[in-house]
Amino acid sequence: MWTYDKKLQYPVKIKNPNANYAKIIISQLGGPDGELAASMRYLHQRYSMPYDKVRGILTDVGTEELAHLEMIGAILYQLTQGLSPEEIKKAGMDIYFVDHTTGLYPVAASGVPFDMKYVGVKGDVIADLNEDLAAEQKARVTYDNILRMVDDPDVRDPIKYLRQRELVHYQRFGDALRIAQDNLDSKNFYAFNPSYDK
């Protein structure tokens, strides 16, 4: 089970609302490489993972992604507080506003709603861990792109933190892949499905 900690993993305190920033940062809520996809990916890959250490890594990284989902939620919430209808219209946020007001609905910046198609669960150790390594890099690139578009230091600070966590998760998934391959022999070092082919 999970227990809620009534605090963010890292502070989010944004003084100035900005609909333009919210429009692009929402991709890390419901986009292809966002935090919802990340948490769902790792927390569902756990069950077919045969190695205890890797089960731990998937559980704990997956749980941290939920905390990141909440940080993105806090950023979007604070960026959209107190906006006037004119500001919303001027930023082009009206096409989101008409369906969701300023509620947080997981969509990509392009407007495509969150889709579990972003989440790879192959039930195979090598396939799933390589998926995770790529996913962390793709999320890192998305944060780099957000940092290219956003000037406000109040917003950049938590985004930089989240970007940095992608690098650490990439390292841990590198460890996970090594642990998995230490358990394989020369015949199946690159391709094996131990959860199925016992």
């Binding site: 227990t3 809620y4 900690d5 009534k6 605090k7 963010l8 993993q9 890292y10 502070p11 989010v12 305190k13 944004i14 250490k53 731990g56 890594i57 704990d60 990284v61 941290e64 909440e70 939620g73 806090a74 919430y77 604070q78 507080q81 650490v168 998760h169 841990r172 460890d175 996970a176 642990i179």
Partner: protein, 90 residues
């Protein structure tokens, strides 16, 4: 929001807890991959102690951080704001 709360103190103490919990989570991820690393284990224990002390102080002054730590037997403080996504809660 409660006007009797010292918000600057709350914020400063919360940031200390966030820093300690971050250190703990970071070393926990490392220990998942290297559970026999003595240096990491020691680091975990040191920060666990500090985090525990800071949380006890925070909850005494500002209310529960988890649903299991509503220590006030007269009032359900868990539901009191600010919630973490609000500016005031950070």
């Amino acid at each position: 929001m409660n006007n009797n709360v010292n918000w600057n103190e709350r914020s400063a103490l919360l940031h200390k807890i966030q820093a300690e919990d971050f250190a703990l989570y970071e070393v926990a991820l490392y220990l998942d991959a290297y559970p026999n690393n003595k240096k990491a284990m020691k680091y975990y224990q040191e920060h666990h102690k500090i985090a525990h002390m800071l949380k006890a102080e925070f909850e005494e002054k500002f209310g529960p951080l988890t649903i299991y730590s509503n220590h006030n037997d007269q009032k359900w403080e868990w539901v009191d704001g600010p919630w973490p996504w609000e500016k005031e809660g950070n």
